[in-house]
Symmetry: C2
Subunit: 466 residues, 2 copies
């Protein structure tokens, strides 16, 4: 990731980049962006020493939650954990501890208690003590079974341990309440059909109780998979954006390889932001790093592919930050896209690019998409707590056979365009065929071919998530 930023010195002191009022393109109303007024550094313009006030969008609740205990307290917390009743975490649970620990879900300070769980299920939002509302659309909960519940009995805290029995965190001031799985699934996904990947993996077989409380995380969550350097916390991302003196941050959530249509969209978004008067819009290219379904391309391969895309110059490293979003994936469409957007506010993004059918998938039983392709975008634009986020609807790009490159779809010459679906892309890569020139940079395509090769070599289905 490049450092910089020379632009900072060019910015005159009166040009607080947030003095302009961005417009919500869904309502055509100005968006009031609360700006933190932290003084970044003194600078000098025309010989007069002044201070540039600059700032990223405020985190939800006004303060970024950070739940990892200071290094000096680690040993004592481990000893405390040792004496507490234990709850073993699944890999998805650890991913949620990671998410919570770094404040992606600010102002949540731990796994949800019942009040937060109910507000999430019914209202996709939480009301704070001061009456303000933040978005919260996915339950971030920890389940326990009857035996664990009995073992915890009267304790006020529990230790959360990983698969090696090492303590990960302490959950304090716990509250145990019923886990109505059917209701949770119905209200989160809008269906209870069997075959929802997250539900099958993490809910159907889960315990009948949920345990909420405040987390103390013993040390930063690391995966030691060679990708930890990409896992910047919201705090680190904010630091990076400030270092680059970003005056707009636009986030792009993805869980697929990047093709030139994506690149076109991101480049075009930057162009539009510059036209709006921003001086230094920075792209947060933010692949999802937690649980994904078995037929998605695994994170390690996606990251290799993203690296190539940057190496091949498809995106400009000067104004692009590539980082991993540690959340598990629900595939819950309009409900989940709110979470994806909200978490990026906490990382400093004030623009969010929303695609067609975000977080959608095929209905697990019926022959149709689970969600209406437009609902994600619509629900996002109406969601409580996201009013200050600028929603940028995805423009559809397709392969333009005339220009031999990816281009925004122009319905007036529809016959010139070729839509290359994910399935088509996978089939080509599996068969080592090449996509049309200009669909994806050659380096990126090679990574995909290599991935499907590795699958064929192991003569097995994609590795099941465990």
């Amino acid at each position: 990731m490049s450092s910089m930023s020379s632009l900072f010195m060019k910015t005159p002191s009166h040009a607080n980049p947030f003095h302009k009022t961005p417009i919500n393109h869904n309502t055509n109303k100005p968006i009031l962006t609360r700006v933190s007024t932290r003084v970044i550094q003194p600078t000098t313009t025309r010989g007069v020493k002044t201070r540039v006030r600059c700032g990223l969008i405020e985190p939800d609740g006004g303060k970024l939650v950070q739940l990892v205990v200071p290094e000096s307290e680690r040993d004592i917390k481990k000893r405390v954990a040792n004496d507490l009743p234990k709850v073993k975490l699944s890999r998805i649970d650890v991913e949620w501890v990671h998410v919570l620990s770094e404040g992606w879900a600010s102002p949540l300070t731990g796994f949800m208690r019942e009040s937060e769980f109910l507000q999430t299920l019914h209202f996709n939002s939480l009301r704070l003590g001061d009456g303000s509302v933040v978005n919260m659309s996915l339950p971030i909960v920890l389940d326990i079974d009857d035996v664990q519940k009995d073992r915890i009995s009267g304790s006020n805290s529990v230790a959360l341990i990983d698969s090696n029995d090492d303590p990960v965190a302490i959950l304090n001031n716990i509250e145990i309440y019923k886990h109505n799985k059917e209701e949770r699934i119905a209200r989160t996904w809008g269906t209870t059909a069997p075959g929802l990947p997250y539900a099958e993996e993490a809910i159907t077989g889960a315990g009948d109780w949920l345990i909420g409380g405040d987390l103390e995380v013993i040390q930063p969550i690391k995966y030691h998979d060679g990708l930890d350097r990409y896992r910047l916390s919201p705090s680190e991302l904010r630091e990076e954006f400030e270092k680059r003196n970003a005056d707009a941050v636009f986030a792009f959530q993805l869980r697929n390889p990047v093709h030139n249509g994506h690149a076109l969209l991101m480049t075009d978004t930057r162009r539009r932001l510059l036209e709006m008067g921003y001086k230094n819009p920075v792209l947060l290219l933010h692949p999802l790093g937690g649980f994904t379904k078995a037929d998605d391309v695994p994170l390690s391969w996606r990251m290799k592919q993203h690296e190539k895309v940057l190496e091949d110059g498809v995106l400009d490293p000067e104004n692009t930050v590539v980082s991993i979003f540690p959340s598990p994936m629900h595939y819950a469409g309009p409900t989940e896209v709110q979470w994806h957007a909200k978490a990026r506010i906490n990382a400093g993004a004030n623009f969010y690019i929303v695609g067609r059918d975000p977080a959608g998938m095929a209905h697990p039983v019926e022959k149709r998409d689970l969600y209406d392709a437009d609902h994600g975008k619509k629900v996002l634009s109406m969601a409580p707590g996201l009013e200050r986020l600028n929603i940028l609807p995805f423009k559809v790009a397709a392969y333009d056979k005339k220009q031999k490159k990816m281009e925004f779809f122009d319905p007036s010459r529809a016959q010139d365009f070729l839509f290359i679906s994910g399935t088509k892309m996978r089939t080509l890569a599996k068969n080592k065929e090449s996509p049309p020139d200009g669909f994806m940079c050659p380096g990126g395509w090679e990574v995909l071919v290599e991935y499907y090769d590795s699958l064929a070599a192991s003569d097995s289905d994609p590795v099941k998530y465990v």
Copy 2:
């Protein structure tokens, strides 16, 4: 219904009854009640002519929606309707037209368009143009099938007709959008299990499209069942409360016969409101009058029973208004109770009594209640748009065998209490047995026995709702 109120003259001019700040008992925070400042009438205190400002809680959106066209326009609207494409209404559809026409769902001005439908499903609330939020938890929608959709084609308005083909209303500026029934059911009920009474009656077999728009209702909806006099609109109820100079209105939603436990609760609520400093709390005893499931006691019998309860002096007619709430019943627990509460705000109620498991029922497939008995109360206290409504949790009453009357349950002498369930009550009435003395006033009980007698006489199950 008694008129009155002599109390008005006793109220000194400075004693605006809403100057006190009521407390939300769930949060222990004061509730800010927006008060309309309409001047009711001039009065005289100590020889000085002053004006008493008085007012009920404001309707949602600030203005009570009323959609029945003036009588002078009826004929012309009928002629207009005659020339429009027609949509035939089911009985439940007509009930919703009734609900909408009188402003129970203010600020809705007709069947929901997609934006309102999505906000209802995802957020249980609607954001208004001024950024304020009103509660709206149940979809109020009208379905059409493919054939009807084709027939409507390019028209901007449609006529809604009843089972006799008589025009009921015109729906203007229509919007047609997809009716994803599975998602609607899952997000409304938190289950998709077969056997939900409203879903079976009105959704499962419904068309695949919804049609929203603005209603012009040709004449007030009447049922000619001898009960129309009980069907006061929100506007008429507000008039009645103002006539009685109510300074607090507490609403009690019910769809069952009233027993002395209910009466105790209502009397006790009035006592508590007087203690809080209100001078004239009025009870809105508000049985639900629309669609109910087959084994509920039908409205006509319930109304007979409620009349007896008032005749027998169990409730004081001086400070009780009995009226019918025209909404159909969803049995959607925590989601529906919000609708029950919100609609009563529009009718002028600023206190709402919430029971155990409100709008709940047995799970249609599994052997358990569909909802956690406490969730309705909790969700209601957290619901967006209901912040200004005082939620009064129901205190559990049971039959006190020692005192031989209904009394609030006292866990310290649990053995003295007898819980008489709805099932037990029905069994007793069916077998013409008497409940314990003091459970229900004798006149009310006779009505119930008569009802079950009539069922036995017709040797059939309770009349199916058609």
